[in-house]
């Protein structure tokens, strides 16, 4: 079975590698460079220091040459103090430059890494629900951590070495050409071969690097899964299988890493050999010329030093070039994350309206300049299907008035939660419209709508921190008294008080110190505190016993008077207080019940097709 686990055809991380062409993608790097260029002053300082370092390094062999030639020419009469002074001047320059570029490079790296992470995080929060449907948490985590680190390194240190390397090579080439044109040409003749070797190797290195990155992403995903599913894995005694699966991934990582390292290991010596060849060429040709008297000893020595230094930047640049190509996969993935467009966002018109909006003291006008209070919600022929999936909802028509409480019932997979997701605009209808007081909600501000929503889900998310913190999440400036009131209404007060530290009790990461039902009560309190116009309870009390639930319902009665509320539930006791019951089903269950009054319809066949025919089905429950 493990081969099924790692069947690549079946693995989707929401990213298509083939859609990205091989080779350097300049556009991509231009975008990333944008992150560096924000720090203009730092970049200029970095570049300056890189250039002065290169200049100083180029100057040393020239001084050596001058010293040797002077001694050669004048013997003991030569005056070397000027050269000594110049030499130490350059030493001072290089000392300051190196210190400087490390300071600025480090600064840029830290800032850039922070900025990329932040824009990634911001976008993650902005993205619509559907983005998360098929992207494993581990995939996203790898983007935000290791990939990000890698990119910021390149953007700071890579940039430094690029400027330094180019200055260095250009400077050396100029110095050599100036000293002896023919000898210089002979040495530089190695360059085309070097270029060819580099290109050939880098292509291979990139390929194996991608495989490394991709496997890394999956390893993170696998870690994540094994942590999330620890109870299931233990209960099914799957530790050995999981380990086996993980080792397969790890082995794959090992293999591609080794291949990658071998390629890099072969490439570098080739560059070194070529460098040595050039040095040898300079030595032989130069030596002949020295003997012939065309070239001074000092010049030959300078040449030899230069040929050695000339290839240093190439090694560095090749290293960064390889790193860049490796990181290109990271860059593509990170950029794809940062630039992923939310499928659901405010239209330009709304954005404009929100910019123009002046804060309204009366509280009657929403941030998009329209009415703040919602009086009527209408679903008009709403249909929906998830990407490429079959239709989940078909032609739903529904009208909810302010103060109404609607219960949604139906078999699992029938589309109840989808209906709620549409109302909350986590997804938008694939056809049809949802109207708020006659205005399509796509013409209202997303932020406004969602800040007027209170949602309590079956699997309630509780954040690390105290119980009070978690409830306060619904309204950040709430007083302790408000929090207690909300908790009491949610039926959570008594269990909270029974905790050792009461409201200040730590809930553990993800609320793991609380039971499923307690988490539901807390998120209920949170929703009550938020004081939303629309309250959605999706199986919100499924883990709460019926007695507690009854208590909550009593507390809610008054609260729901001027709100819209949508209750999804399977327990009849949960929905008996609803004003109307909406049945959503796919219509493949046998009718099981006799004529039992108001609940009869609840259990009769109600397909979505039926719903469309009959506009909407609603029953008066009271």
């Amino acid at each position: 079975m493990s081969d099924v686990f790692f069947d690549d055809d079946n693995y989707s991380d929401g990213f298509d590698d083939d859609s990205f062409k091989q080779g350097m993608k300049l556009n991509l790097w231009k975008k990333l460079l944008g992150y560096t260029l924000v720090y203009r002053v730092e970049v200029i300082m970095l570049a300056t220091f890189a250039i002065t370092t290169a200049i100083a390094e180029i100057a040393f062999p020239l001084i050596t040459r001058a010293v040797i030639d002077a001694v050669d020419e004048f013997g003991t009469d030569a005056n070397l103090w000027g050269y000594a002074g110049a030499y130490f001047g350059f030493v001072l320059l290089i000392c300051i430059s190196v210190g400087g570029f490390i300071w600025y490079g480090g600064k840029i790296r830290t800032h850039v890494s922070h900025d990329i992470r932040r824009s990634g995080f911001e976008n993650l929060q902005r993205l619509s629900f559907s983005y998360y449907d098929f992207r494993p948490v581990g995939w996203l985590m790898a983007r935000m951590t290791s990939d990000c680190e890698r990119l910021s390194n390149i953007l700071a240190w890579g940039l430094l070495d690029l400027i330094w390397g180019i200055t260095m090579m250009a400077g050396i080439a100029v110095a050599m050409l100036y000293m002896d044109f023919l000898l210089a040409i002979a040495v530089l003749s190695v360059l085309p071969i070097l270029a060819w070797v580099s290109i050939t190797f880098q292509k291979r290195i990139l390929k194996s690097a991608r495989s490394v990155r991709k496997t890394n992403s999956r390893i993170t995903g696998s870690f994540n899964e094994s942590i999330m599913g620890v109870q299931t894995s233990k209960a099914f005694v799957r530790e050995a299988e999981n380990l086996n699966n993980f080792s397969q991934l790890s082995t794959r990582m090992f293999d591609s890493s080794v291949l990658n390292a071998v390629q890099a290991a072969v490439y570098l010596p080739i560059v070194l050999t070529l460098g040595a060849l050039a040095s040898g060429l300079a030595l032989v040709l130069g030596g002949v010329e020295v003997i012939a008297g065309f070239v001074t000893t000092g010049t030959l020595i300078a040449f030899l030093t230069y040929t050695r230094h000339f290839f240093e930047p190439i090694e560095e640049l090749a290293h960064w070039f390889a790193e860049m190509q490796m990181a290109q996969a990271s860059a593509e993935r990170t950029i794809s994350l940062i630039e992923a467009e939310s499928e659901i966002k405010d239209s330009p018109r709304i954005n404009k309206a929100m910019k123009a909006h002046e804060p309204d003291p009366s509280g009657l006008v929403a941030i998009d300049g329209m009415k703040d209070v919602i009086g009527l919600i209408e679903f008009e022929d709403v249909s929906f299907n998830y990407t490429d999936g079959p239709a989940v909802l078909k032609n739903i028509n529904l009208t909810i008035r302010q103060g109404e409480s609607i219960a949604v019932v139906g078999s699992t997979g029938g589309g109840k939660t989808t209906l709620v997701n549409l109302l909350c605009r986590f997804y938008e209808p694939t056809s049809g419209r949802i109207l708020l007081d006659g205005v399509d909600y796509r013409d209202r501000s997303l932020h406004w709508l969602q800040s007027n929503l209170g949602i309590v889900l079956q699997s309630s998310h509780v954040f690390g921190g105290t119980i009070a913190d978690n409830i306060r999440y619904g309204k950040l400036d709430a007083s302790d008294e408000e929090i207690r009131l909300a908790a009491t209404r949610a039926g959570a007060d008594s269990f909270i008080r029974s905790k050792e530290n009461g409201y200040d009790q730590q809930v553990g990461e993800g609320g793991n110190q609380l039971s499923a039902g307690q988490k539901q009560l807390i998120s209920f309190a949170r929703a009550i505190l938020a004081d939303p116009q629309i309250l959605v309870m999706d199986e919100a009390t499924s883990s709460v016993d019926t007695v507690t639930e009854q208590y909550i319902q009593q507390g809610m009665q008054k609260l729901l008077q001027d709100r819209f509320s949508l209750v999804i539930a399977h327990r009849l006791s949960t929905i008996r207080n609803a004003d109307r019951i909406l049945v959503i089903e796919q219509g493949n269950h046998a009718a099981l019940l006799g004529q039992e009054g108001r609940y009869y319809s609840l259990y009769t066949r109600q397909s979505i097709q039926d719903l469309s025919r009959r506009q909407h089905v609603w029953l008066t429950a009271k």
Binding site: F90, I94, M228, G413, L572
Partner: protein
């Protein structure tokens, strides 16, 4: 950190380059004096250059070592945590499913007891229902049975064997648990089911899926049993996930089956079908059901109502209906009508 590095590299470069400078000048003076040839001086300069490179790299090595030490410490934090013990006894055959719990007490952190003085007895093949408000200790009891935690006092006997002296893996292989929020692996539905039993045939899969009332839904997916479940099963509804987890547990066909609020997201119709299917398997498993819906628990052989870690009430549906207490209040709330409806449903569908 940056400042330190900058200072280190700047300073070490200055020392290195100065050294070369000294050699150059002094060497040149010696060449002038005739005690050194130009060639020797050049060779010297080259050697010094070679020696200096490693020194210049020392700084990087030192900082990397510092970082590595920090990482090592963090890794050790994970590696040095004690593992679950594995040396306990492994009985030769499968369990019959008899569970006897007496005076069981447990707390997570030592001071607040989650379970206090719990005692009950289930014979093989019987069904026990657990009810109670959130935090009353229902799920904790299930976790103790699986040896995910070890109890501090009292005893749990499986077929007369003290649970804490049985091998964990053995215990877990004898018990299937279905959680309210089941975890599904990012793999196909078929693979997720096979987690229950690796050598299960296709017909085993469909049997288990049918018993959990999920077979028809699976067949509606474009790739059937080969459909991939997105991470945490996002393409499935809560109820579908619960039913896949149930099928997985049934496939394992264990002596003891625990449903921890496992049907909460399943509608009452489907739930009735599942309960029927479970009932037709009656005797195959000892079943522990944690639930809030009356319809789920009312047919259990015994119902325990927990409150604050204590057994508040114990008995079957009729016994508890005739006592005043939480259970009867619960029945009253859920409504006589609901009970009637459920009863009628059971009759019609069985």
């Amino acid at each position: 950190m940056n400042l330190l590095l900058a200072a280190y590299f700047g300073f070490s470069d200055m020392i290195c380059m100065s050294q070369i400078g000294v050699i150059l000048i002094v060497g040149a003076l010696w060449v002038m004096g005739g005690s050194l040839t130009v060639g020797t001086l050049f060779a010297f300069l080259t050697y010094v250059g070679m020696v200096i490179w490693p020194i210049r790299h020392m700084g990087r090595v030192l900082t990397d070592t510092g970082k590595a030490m920090v990482s090592l410490g963090r890794l050790c934090e994970i590696l040095l945590v004690a593992e679950e013990s594995q040396h306990e006894r492994i009985p030769s055959g499968p369990l019959s499913g008899e569970i006897e719990v007496s005076q069981l007490a447990f707390s997570f952190n030592g001071d607040q007891e989650v379970l206090r003085d719990i005692s009950f007895h289930i014979r093989p093949g019987e069904t026990l229902a657990l009810m109670g408000p959130p935090g009353s200790g229902k799920s904790t009891l299930a976790q103790l049975l699986l040896r995910l935690y070890d109890y501090q006092s009292g005893s749990i006997l499986l077929d007369g064997n003290e649970l804490s002296r049985l091998n964990r893996k053995y215990v877990r292989s004898q018990i299937s648990i279905v959680l309210q929020e089941p975890f599904l692996y990012s793999a196909s539905i078929g693979v997720n089911l096979q987690v229950g039993r690796l050598d299960a045939s296709d017909s085993d899969l469909t049997d288990a899926a049918s018993a959990a009332c999920i077979h028809d839904s699976i067949m509606q997916f474009p790739r059937g049993y080969k459909s991939i479940v997105g991470e945490r099963g996002v393409t499935l509804s809560g109820g579908q996930r619960q039913r896949i987890a149930l099928a997985r547990a049934l496939l394992k066909d264990p002596p003891i089956l625990i449903l921890d609020d496992a049907l909460s997201a399943v509608d009452t119709d489907t739930e009735a079908m599942i309960l029927n299917a479970l009932r037709s398997r009656r005797g195959r498993h000892t079943t522990i059901v944690i639930a809030h819906r009356l319809s789920t628990v009312m047919h259990a052989d015994r119902i325990l109502v927990l409150h604050d870690g204590l057994v508040q009430q114990s008995g079957d549906h009729h016994e508890l209906m005739n006592q005043s207490g939480t259970y009867r209040r619960l029945c009253e709330i859920q409504g006589a009508m609901e009970v009637e409806i459920e009863d009628k449903r059971q009759r019609i569908s069985s």
